[in-house]
Symmetry: C2
Subunit: 204 residues, 2 copies
DNA sequence: GTCTATAAGGCGATAGAC
DNA sequence: GTCTATCGCCTTATAGAC
């Protein structure tokens, strides 16, 4: 067996462990996730994990890190499809679609992150904080730009708007699997709601 | 010491334990919450908790149960203030305000419930399922009634609307404490957003 | 009602064989 | 790379003193 093959096998196993850890973490929480169970789900022994990771904390750190990176990559991809200088409505729709695709397609990672945020040792999620801040800034700037362009209704607090939208999107990880609704449908619906609301306006 | 006083003391201690448990549970999750720590936070020993509760599961069950009951009571209170046959906009605003007051004022209980839903032994949260269903029905009927009255914009899926609104509201438990925003302000903002959206419509 | 002491079991982590 | 074996620690829960 060559060195390259050996390295490859190690990398594959690493990913298997990360995926298994994300799944367990999303279902049972940090303290309810046992290395024995992670290992068992991929037919390994608990002790063997230590060949790939230095500690349980280090493993969790990588899961949370991958979680935020998956989201950023997919949102960027969706937004890039729009080309140069997209209008606000197109941009918002693409960003919402990207965020939802990311968190619902990789629900194990997202739920691992959401459910365990603040319940994992501080050092662990501090590690990914810079990435989270950068992603948050993308959304902040999206709405700031829209305000400058004058397409935001007066009286709307874009800070609270962003938090409300994040809540709607992220909450979908909780009910999506049982809903039978498609990601596209949810994205379309949420974009429409946050743009135009649910109320039939009386035009005067 | 009379019997009444003794009973009173027991009831007071029970509440102290429940509050302490909710706080620990919201911060560390079910498996990361240790009876020793709950007890220590109210200057007791772990073994003493068993005078008040039969097991850790029984204690958690009561916390989750109290969580949903707190919300239902406060929402009902806010809605009742409106009197007979309120219009949709007033009703929605009151319900949103009630829900937010409840989950933010009793954030320990709400976060304990949200963060641990699905990560606690099934038997524990099955116990409160009927209460949760009843509360969900209140919101379902609120939007169904609005549709019948014809005040919902055509094309809006009220099922997805309800889930989006729940997401926005419940997510606030995560950022509220650090935000410096008042509950009233958040309620006003979310009601306005879900009714009218953020986009400045071009009227033709 | 609360304490101390302890039983029974499970966890993360390490060492060394293979 | 993965296994087996094991150490030390900490958990829930119980028993009995006070």
């Amino acid at each position: 067996m060559t060195l390259i093959q050996a390295t490859k096998k190690s990398a594959v196993t690493r990913q298997l462990i990360l995926d298994a850890a994300a799944k367990m973490l999303s279902r049972h929480g940090y303290h309810g996730t046992y290395l024995k169970d992670i290992a068992a789900s991929i037919n390994m022994q608990a002790g063997s994990l230590y060949y790939h990771f230095n500690s349980k904390e280090a493993l969790m750190q990588e899961v949370l890190n991958k979680s935020i990176q998956l989201i950023r990559d997919i949102v960027e991809e969706e937004v890039d499809k729009l080309g140069h200088k997209p209008d606000f409505v197109s941009l918002l729709k693409a960003a919402i679609r990207g965020h939802l695709i990311a968190i619902l397609r990789h629900a194990d990672y997202t739920l691992a992150s959401i459910r365990n945020y603040g319940q994992i040792p501080k050092s662990v999620h501090d590690f990914a904080q810079a990435d989270r801040d950068a992603y948050e800034n993308f959304w902040r700037e999206l709405f700031e730009q829209a305000e400058k362009e004058g397409v935001i209704r007066s009286g709307v607090n874009t800070h609270l708007l962003r938090l409300a939208l994040f809540g709607s999107m992220n909450w979908a990880t909780i009910w999506y699997a049982d809903s039978g609704t498609s990601v596209e449908e949810i994205a379309e619906s949420q974009a429409d709601l946050f743009l135009h609301g649910c109320y039939k306006e009386e035009r005067d």
